[in-house]
Amino acid sequence: MSELFERDELARYERQIRIEGFGQEAQEKLKRSSVLISRVGGVGGTIALGLARAGIGRLVLAHGGTLTHEYMNRMLLADPADVGRPCVEVFVERLRRVNPQLELEAVAENVSADNVQGLVDKVDLVADGAPLFEERYLMNAEVVRQGKPLVMGAMYGTEGYVTVIRPGDTPCLKCIYPQRPDYWTHIKVFPAIGPSPWIVGATATMEAIKVLTGFGEPLAGKLWSFDLENNSTRKLVLYRDPDCPVCGDREAREET
């Protein structure tokens, strides 16, 4: 087999290749796949780590700024000795230690109107762990334009939310949140204890693996929520908005 895997590389994935319905075929699909992660904080960093452990072929990371102390309670890709260093430099270094065969590309800025098209263009799937609706809307509009899947992961306090957006088949973020909710306007510094971003990150990692490999049943068109305070979970069915300004005219455009 293969030039696809280096010597000893498959040995790392032995335990997951054993999973019924996963097998070497899914492992090969993962190895051939690429994911954009933005941002790479408590949620996105957990996704990056999970995908690196699971054997994704290539990651593109977008995250601005330098590491501060208060990241350390939830960011799995950085340690206190890294405080003051550029975030993506540390994340790349850590991910290479996790998986030496992983291809990595990183930009030291958050997603913006200027860079979103180029970033989404590089990958098969987008994992959105951004705290701001502006960034989320940009990624959402771009995956709709490029027809690529997006896994959305979000958290606040002890609560978490995950859904999979498949443009054309499922609602897009704009169908779900036509406008940025008022309650989300004044939040720059939100309360966070590690377990909530990790639970969102773990769930979102598995969703990305499902979408990329065809294994299992993804949360397409369903919003999963979790509250770690009492371990309650919900799955809500979501519907497309036919008048959605982002994805609603897609079919009409295709017909013309």
Partner: protein, 272 residues
Amino acid sequence: MNQPSLKSPPSVLPRSATDLPPLSEHEKKVFERQIQLPELGEEGQRRLKAASVLVSRVGGLGGTVAMLLARAGVGKLVLAHDGEIEHENLNRMHLAFHQDLGRRRVDVFDETLRRINPDIEVVTEPDNVHEGNVEGLMRQADLTVDGAPLFEERYAMNAEAVRQGKPLVMAAMFALEGYVSSLRPPHTPCLTCLYPEQPDYWNVKVFPVICPSSVLVATVAAMEAIKYITGLGDRLEGEMLYFDLAGNVFRKFRVERRADCPVCAAPAAATA
């Protein structure tokens, strides 16, 4: 059997607020975001710093629990795990890296945890839990998170937790499925109430695992430990959380004590 109320006092650890260690300026900065949680606050953070947790084993599940508790600011971890790092560990053992292949597991785990939290105290046992070491290991901790793959180890920890009257968070997984329950007899069943005998289907030495499921189980288990230590939220006492990440199915089952449990029923009767 008469079950005492499931609602328990805020923190079950016998530690008064005046005995808690102060937080350094560095710790206040690192834990700023979680101190903001009103239910946790600075006192909760000081309770975490004062706390000690036994984790065994320290693999995909237990190692992730240890990593998460170190991030959250737990003061002391007692870790028991035998063997050396192998290739097939690296798809899920977050405390080990490619460069660590062949090294003794507990040494690698200790090193990684100190990088995460330089102030943490780590006690290591380069062996899995067994009848001979379980008492001494558990004496060094306020509570236990059980992430062992074998029932022999689980039963040993369960019986000892009952003897010492300490909470035990039971966490288990297989492929995409996971299970978590917090055990604290007589308020809850013990492991032997739930599984009087080792189930036949569990003659598994090499089980399938992919890291999102082990991270999910570990996260819920770590949160249960944090709840025991700080009093935050509702614990999985008298309940078992089950999930299957393949289809994102989550269920909570009610679990009950056995009146004739050979492990936990007798002591309760004696004190009644």
